[in-house]
């Protein structure tokens, strides 16, 4: 079946199907039942599956996360909804010191099959404590798989892949994408974790991006096409593992790379890509790599200030042009 639906609806459908398919799958978090999640990603599921499998919780982020861990060790496959990624930081210990390390410390006696959902990114005035994109943190933590779907189709296919993954998956949905529609083919094979999406092909410059920034990059690529610059645009969608092959192949060909991320540039995941590419393709680069990311400041509330911290299509265009010239 191919249907048009929003990014939020796609994940709702994915979770629903996985819960029907596997009785060990359940979800827990704040306000899942009455509200159906921040963007309706859980709407109707409590009615369908009951309060035990769509479990409304108190405001206890540490315990929400630990409940997921313990329940994963005891034979279930929890979907842990932490809402705003900013609050996931309240459960950082449970994620880093427990979730990520248990399989390893205990030498593979157990796995920790769970999905940790967090909404990242700016969305019109959400300000310093509700706008962060902390993907770089999670990539740095051994044991974690980190996904950043950016389309409805990927939010369907990747959430399913995440739920079926036997290791803990950090699943980062971007708030600004929730309402964006796209075609979802429910019969397509599941997205393979670690495979990037080649959004468009081109030979002049490679642009690597992920999550909400995909939208800006597509705009930028259109503008660049009009200027005669053909972009090889890669939406990584999986940050760990990331699709090294696709990126290296592309940059080997174009010799030029722009990395565009919404997160703070300093210490952002973009640095890892730049470091890897510059180490590996040093001899093939035809221009210095350009790395875009937010300035190192908290996200301000006021609209023009917030905009001043956003990476725009214009900035991406400029970086690509600089690179080509």
């Amino acid at each position: 079946m191919i249907a048009e639906m929003t990014y939020a609806e796609a994940s709702l459908l994915a979770l629903r199907e996985e819960m029907q398919r596997d009785l060990r799958v359940w979800a827990l978090g704040e306000d899942l039942g009455p509200e159906g999640g921040l963007a309706g990603q859980y709407r109707g599921l409590q009615t369908e599956f009951g309060g035990a499998r769509i479990c409304d919780t108190p405001i206890s982020e540490s315990m929400i996360m630990a409940a997921g861990v313990g329940a994963a060790l005891a034979g279930t496959r929890p979907v842990v909804e932490l809402r705003f990624a900013d609050f996931a930081i309240c459960a950082a210990d449970e994620i880093v010191n427990q979730t990520a390390k248990i399989r390893y410390m205990f030498n593979g006696q157990t796995r920790v099959p769970l999905v940790i959902r967090q909404a990242i990114g700016m969305r019109g005035g959400t300000a310093a404590q509700h706008s962060q994109s902390m993907e770089a943190w999670w990539v740095h933590v051994p044991g974690l798989t980190v996904l950043t779907p950016a389309t409805a189709a990927d939010n369907y296919g990747m959430l399913k892949a995440a739920i079926r993954c036997d290791d803990p998956v950090i699943y980062l949905e971007h708030k600004a994408l929730w309402g964006i529609k796209g075609a979802v083919d429910t019969d397509a094979p599941l997205v393979q974790i670690g495979k990037a999406d080649k959004v468009q092909r081109g030979d002049d410059v490679t642009i690597v991006t992920w999550s909400g920034m995909r939208v800006e990059c597509i705009k930028a690529a259109d503008t660049l096409r009009q200027r005669g610059i053909a972009v090889d645009l890669i939406d990584l969608r999986s940050l760990w593992p990331w699709d090294r092959d696709m990126v290296m192949d592309s940059v080997s060909r174009t010799g030029r790379l722009v990395v565009a991320q919404e997160a703070v540039r300093v210490g952002g995941f973009g640095a890892e890509i730049v470091a890897e590419v510059s180490e590996e393709l040093w001899a093939k680069l035809r221009a210095p790599i350009r790395r875009l990311g937010a300035p190192r400041c908290p996200v301000p509330f006021s609209m023009p200030l917030e905009d001043a911290c956003r990476i725009s299509a214009d900035m991406i265009v400029k970086a690509a042009v600089d690179s080509v010239e």
Partner: protein
């Protein structure tokens, strides 16, 4: 749970009905503050719907008596901290609603220069240490301020305002232990409005709730009708005195928010009937009828209401016409070294 929680009122608590009345003037001025908060919140809601205010707005309508009653008993150098529903606390502590409205509009001249927005209003000039977007984090910070008061041997007190949803966060529970073992001058104010966002807190709160937890740490306090400004005023005065120079206490105030959690929430988890019943106990209505009975003239009440309306109208005009902040502000006040970048 309700009836048992009621019985948990400690011996030191006076029933609200027995609280001696203050002067009419005092209550009239408190009513005025309540009106300012009410008008501020209704205006904020309208402007949000009109697209002039972005982000989240959590209105304090229905709970005004708590902020006003408590803050009327604090010194200006006492500290308060707040949560996501913070406008009322700031106004009650003495923040300028015009600066606050500019803040909600994200404009220059806003209390935080437009960089904070609704959930991040602070005014250090009046001891308001900040609203907070993370549930319960304002509480732990206030307890830290209480710790500094003790280290510095001052006689201030620190007053965190928080909701019944915050009661289940571990850091808040750690704070109860902390405030007690160091005997910090902290007056906890729990605003029990029955809900945490769309969740009925009684569904996710074990045992007798906040009061039982506080008492298990050896912290005593009083339970009050948070919609009755007289009760809040009296108990706050009494407990603020007790806490000053001493260890912690709490106020547990039952109340209700008239509006949804924030302006995006459909409100479907509450019945109209429940809302209507609580609206009958609207703190402003209650105070008005009681003041009229006490001999205050209707005209005087109309006057404070009118003043509030005028003030908020001025705030709106000021906010609408204020310029946007300079773009350079985005990179200012990050830190001294290694910024901007």
């Amino acid at each position: 749970m309700t009836s048992r929680e009621k019985s948990a009122v400690p011996p030191s608590g006076l029933p609200a009905s027995a609280i001696p009345l203050g002067s009419n003037e005092r209550f009239l001025s408190m009513l005025g503050k309540m009106y300012v908060i009410r008008e501020f919140e209704e205006a904020a809601g309208q402007e949000w719907h009109a697209g002039n205010i972005r982000g989240s707005v959590h209105q304090y309508v229905g709970q005004e008596a708590i902020a006003v009653g408590v803050c009327s008993n604090l010194r200006s150098d006492d500290y308060i901290s707040s949560n996501h529903r913070g406008h009322g606390h700031s106004i009650a502590k003495g923040a300028d609603p015009i600066g606050m409205m500019k803040e909600l509009f994200g404009r220059e001249g806003g209390t935080c220069g437009g960089k904070g927005g609704s959930m991040h209003i602070a005014d250090f000039s009046i001891g308001m240490l900040g609203a907070n977007g993370v549930v319960a984090d304002g509480v732990t910070i206030a307890v830290g301020a209480g710790h500094a008061i003790k280290v510095l041997k001052q006689d201030r007190i620190a007053v965190p305002f928080f909701g019944d949803g915050a009661v289940n966060r571990g850091p808040l529970m750690e704070s109860l232990n902390w405030a007690k073992i160091y005997d910090l001058p902290v007056l906890y104010v729990c605003e029990h409005n029955g809900y945490a966002a769309t969740t009925r807190t009684s569904d996710v709160t074990a045992g007798e709730g906040f009061i039982a937890r506080a008492r298990s740490f050896g912290i005593e306090g009083e339970e009050i009708d948070g919609n009755d400004i007289r009760a809040v005023d009296e108990v706050a005065r009494h407990l603020a005195q007790r806490v000053r120079g001493n260890g912690p206490a709490y106020i547990f105030a039952r109340t209700y928010r008239h509006h949804p959690h924030n302006l995006r929430d459909s409100g479907a988890y509450r019945t109209q009937d429940e809302i209507d019943r609580w609206k009958l106990k609207d703190p402003i209505k209650l105070a008005t009828s009681w003041l009229l009975e006490a001999g205050v003239a209707r005209a005087e009440i109309n006057a404070v209401e009118g003043d509030a309306k005028a003030l908020i109208a001025r705030a709106l005009t000021a906010a609408r016409s204020a310029p946007w902040p300079q773009l350079s502000a985005a990179l200012e006040n990050v830190q001294d070294l290694g910024a901007p970048l």
